[in-house]
């Protein structure tokens, strides 16, 4: 058996190495990402348990202690309240950061900060907003950054407010300043956890007055969303890579069998069975797979930790623990890969059965199927080179189709990655469900609001403004936030029905629709902030920007004062001046774009780096594969090329014909990839981001990007095919005739 393997496989060393390499890369990527991703979830959950973080957080913007009212609820086990202030602060780079400042951070045991010093969430360090020793002001009070801590509760880049811890004395000083927004967080542990954040406190009467209620499922999702997106993109690339590996395997096997026909026929005349020949191939190819898998397993010990640290940082956390390799993951990935490999190998070995021992006497030549092309050499008016190239292409369509499919996969993958990258550029706010307005203004009533708007307009012209009156309704025991916008944002994508037109109309998110088993046209009875029993009709459903949104739009509670106003400025250069001048007293201006800018930047940067790495990898692997396919195609065509040389074709003519054939395959591959991208590209991408916790990515890759990717791969492939075609000049007629 060893001799058979040696004899059959020795000539295919390059392919064996390539298969091992591709298996290694795809297995390493999969093992690393899955291990790091799982570690991210499990370590986060452990940290959450270790710090005894609450099941539910309730935030209210007042200074009345809500502990007593929460404790009375049936599902509540314990409550700890944390009073503080919410403030917009400016760092040294004039960037605004929204902070919730208090003197305790749940159960984390931090050394009490010194007077007028603050310990911040570590995300603010990793995104470069602050460093130790930085000074900033809250009102007139100067605070110095004393250190950072990993905040597993509100430290995720996805949360609007980051926590800052000060001493009791400092907090009191801050609270006593005029115009500070007093807030409190209540950390609640419940008896029974449910998936609906609001339903866990279903008998909480003041739910309609709370600002936010997060449960731990929501919080944990926020901490795992970004790594999930990143992991899915990489897993997609790894799957492509393994797909390529399977292609290489099939291609190598088919070409190898064709090349070794005579040898195989000779073995058969000597009494060696089909099974024995098959086994020789299976063993050698699986051997290559195994080498790749073992190497990947070993290297993944190191890379898993590396990627886990990257994921941890995406979460705004720094203290990553060591990640051990997960044997189950390794085994599952190995088994999946081996299973596919075995299937492909067995499928590709079918031609062995049809090799008759008589082939040994006929120089091993396979019975070539005559071209079914109607393009005749004697009748066509096209140049001889093109007609011949086309006929040869048709004859070796199996080889060239592999080339075509691989090119199309590479282009498709590149286009998807570029689209994803483009999707995150400038769209991160949308994707993450963050507002895209310059300033949010909170005011207690309409007269203060109107006055403030007028004042702001005198400093910087306002491009547009509107209101977003947020209220809540109690619908089927669930407190649902309801927005009443002066104009419903264009990002809202209606799935069915229409937008609210009447005071009793309600447009609800698709996730809420599913959770509460509602339907369009259905009439529901609700409690609002102003009316105890109101009848509303569900008139439509919309796609939420992220899966976390269980909200609605309606025209209810119009008597309530407009408390939230969104402002878009004509010129944003004076934004900081506005914040300093007008954000005090009854008016609170929040620079929403600045508070999310760092998050946006970090997400974009992560996706961009990732996209570039994958693109580079795609570029390298595609180049390698194109070379291999070219090399082997020339190898299998050597006899025919020698024959053509004998007939008087020059090397240049033969190379031109080969380039034309590769050109056909390349063109077909690009057309195929464009079709794939058009018909399944955006669906796949949307499914991908949806799996990552997002539901929207309405982005079209600009034509220039499409052209860039295609031009790049055409250039690369042409160059490599041109280099590979130099082998044609080395073919000696005498060796083959």
């Amino acid at each position: 058996m060893r001799k058979i393997i040696k004899s059959l496989i020795l000539g295919q060393k390059t392919f064996m190495i390539t298969i091992a390499l591709l298996t290694f890369l795809s297995a390493l990527t999969s093992m690393t990402i899955i291990t790091a991703y799982r570690a991210n979830i499990s370590q986060y959950q452990s940290a959450y348990r270790r710090d005894k973080l609450p099941d539910v957080i309730v935030k209210v913007d007042n200074d009345h202690d809500i502990t007593a009212s929460l404790k009375k609820l049936t599902n509540v086990k314990s409550v700890v309240s944390n009073a503080g202030i919410v403030s917009q602060v400016m760092n040294k780079n004039n960037e605004n950061v929204a902070l919730f400042i208090s003197n305790k951070s749940t159960n984390i045991h931090l050394k009490t900060p010194d007077k007028h010093k603050i310990i911040l969430s570590s995300y603010l360090k990793s995104n470069g907003a602050f460093k130790v020793g930085d000074i900033f002001y809250i009102g007139q009070q100067q605070l110095t950054v004393q250190g950072f801590y990993d905040d597993y509760l509100l430290g995720s880049p996805l949360f609007k407010y980051k926590q800052g811890i000060v001493s009791q004395e400092t907090l009191q000083t801050l609270q006593q300043q005029k115009g500070q927004q007093k807030s409190q967080l209540a950390y609640v542990n419940v008896l029974k956890m449910t998936r609906n954040s609001n339903a866990v406190l279903s008998d909480y009467q003041d739910r309609l007055q709370t600002d936010i209620i997060y449960n731990k499922i929501y919080i944990q999702k926020a901490y795992t969303m970004l790594p999930t997106i990143v992991a899915l993109v990489i897993i997609l690339a790894a799957t492509f890579l393994f797909g390529i590996c399977l292609f290489v395997m099939r291609f190598a096997l088919l070409s190898g069998i064709e090349k070794d026909r005579q040898k195989i026929a000779t073995f058969k005349t000597l009494g060696i069975t089909n099974q024995q020949v098959n086994l020789a191939y299976v063993l050698s190819y699986l051997g290559s797979n195994l080498v790749g898998l073992v190497a990947a397993t070993l290297v993944s010990f190191w890379t898993s930790n590396l990627v886990f640290r990257f994921f941890w940082q995406l979460n705004g956390l720094t203290r990553a623990q060591h990640v051990s390799i997960n044997i189950a993951i390794v085994l599952v990935i190995s088994m999946i890969m081996m299973g596919f490999s075995i299937a492909i190998i067995l499928l590709s070995l079918k031609p062995i059965k049809s090799i008759s021992p008589t082939a040994a006497f006929h120089g091993g030549q396979s019975k070539s199927v005559p071209s079914r092309s109607h393009l005749s050499l004697t009748k066509s008016s096209m140049p001889l080179q093109i007609v011949l190239a086309f006929k040869d292409y048709r004859q070796k369509i199996g080889h060239y189709m592999t080339f075509t499919l691989v090119i199309s996969l590479f282009v498709f993958l590149s286009l998807m990655i570029m689209t994803l990258n483009q999707g995150f550029k400038g769209k991160t706010n949308d994707l993450l469900g963050l507002p895209t307005v310059d300033l949010m203004m909170r005011t207690p009533n309409n007269s203060v609001r109107n006055e403030a708007l007028k004042n702001i307009g005198t400093v910087t012209p306002i491009k547009s403004s509107g209101y977003n009156q947020e209220t809540k309704i109690l619908l089927k025991d669930e407190a649902v936030p309801v927005h009443r916008y002066s104009q419903i944002p264009h990002e809202i994508k209606l799935l069915a029905g229409h937008q609210p037109k009447q005071p009793n109309d309600l447009l609800i998110s698709n996730s809420l629709m599913k959770t509460l088993h509602l339907s369009i046209g259905q009439t529901v009875r609700v409690k609002t902030a102003t009316v105890n029993n109101k009848q509303l009709t569900i008139v439509g459903t919309y796609q939420t920007i992220n899966n976390l949104g269980k909200e609605a739009y309606g025209l209810i509670d119009t008597s309530l004062p407009i408390t939230s106003t969104y402002i878009n400025l004509k010129n944003t250069t004076n934004k900081d001046k506005l914040l300093n001048r007008f954000s005090h007293g009854n008016v609170q201006l929040i620079d929403t774009s600045a508070s999310t800018q760092n998050l946006t930047t970090s997400v974009q940067r992560a996706v961009e780096v990732l996209a570039n790495v994958i693109l580079l990898l795609t570029f390298i692997v595609s180049g390698l594969f194109v070379y291999l396919v070219s090399y082997l195609t020339i190898e299998t065509e050597k006899r025919q090329l020698a024959l053509k040389k004998m007939l008087g074709f020059t090397n240049k003519e033969l190379r031109t014909q080969y380039l034309l054939r590769a050109g056909f395959a390349l063109t077909l591959g690009i057309v195929l990839s464009l079709m794939l991208n058009k018909f399944i590209g955006s669906t796949s991408l949307n499914n991908l981001v949806s799996l990552g916790g997002l539901t929207k990515l309405n982005v079209q890759l600009p034509l220039s990007y499409n052209l860039f990717i295609i031009a790049l791969l055409i250039f690369e492939s042409s160059l490599i095919v041109l280099i590979a075609s130099r082998r044609i000049t080395k073919i000696k007629i005498g060796d083959f005739l």
Binding site: P370, M646, G648, G734
Partner: protein
Amino acid sequence: MPNNSIITVQQLSKHYDNHKILENVDIDIFESDFTVIMGPSGAGKSTLLQNISTMDKPTNGKVLFNQQDLTQFTDKKLSQFRKKEIGFIFQSFNLIDHLSVLENVCLPGFLLHSKSKQQVVKRARQLLTSLRLSDQIDQAITHLSGGQKQRVAIARSLINQPKLLFADEPTGALDSTAGTEVLDSLTLNNQNGQTIVMVTHDLKAALRADRILFIKDGKIFGDRKFSPYDFDQIETRRIEITSWLEEMGW
């Protein structure tokens, strides 16, 4: 008067690694001769044919054609020489399987560009008809018998009316009848003035020669002229050639 030399081989040697296949071979191939190269297996017959027909490059020595050394030709000049001056017939036919009979024959004609497409196709049809292949013109190569394939190969080698025709065991893969048909075609071409150089170990094929080169251990061991082939004198010829070949150690 001997004919003019069409190919002159000077001090031709061919080595594979350290193994010497041909060693300092000097021969002339004369115009309109039917030269047969014979010798024991492994003597270097096919290697010699390949080296003088530019299918391979000698390790040392010269192959002169019209006073020009073919071993020094560039790729372009070599392909021009192959297209225009020579035809080649092989034991294993070496036809292009995915082209039809007519396309196979026309291909070298199209490549030479000396005639229009229609002229090439017309000549190819004439050649195929003369070789009794008119019914197979549009057939795929894979549907032909061995004898038919070899006749297609002959038609292909003649399409550009080359001065020289090289044949390497052209009857080796054929039965007796098909072999005779092929040899008849070659003889006819030779009688029409074409120079033929053929490697064979088949006595029947050797009978067609008017000159036999006997090669042994990479060297020309014997070189003898015979009278031109005449079917009526076949038995006398067989005895003459056989006895000479036996002298050579055949």
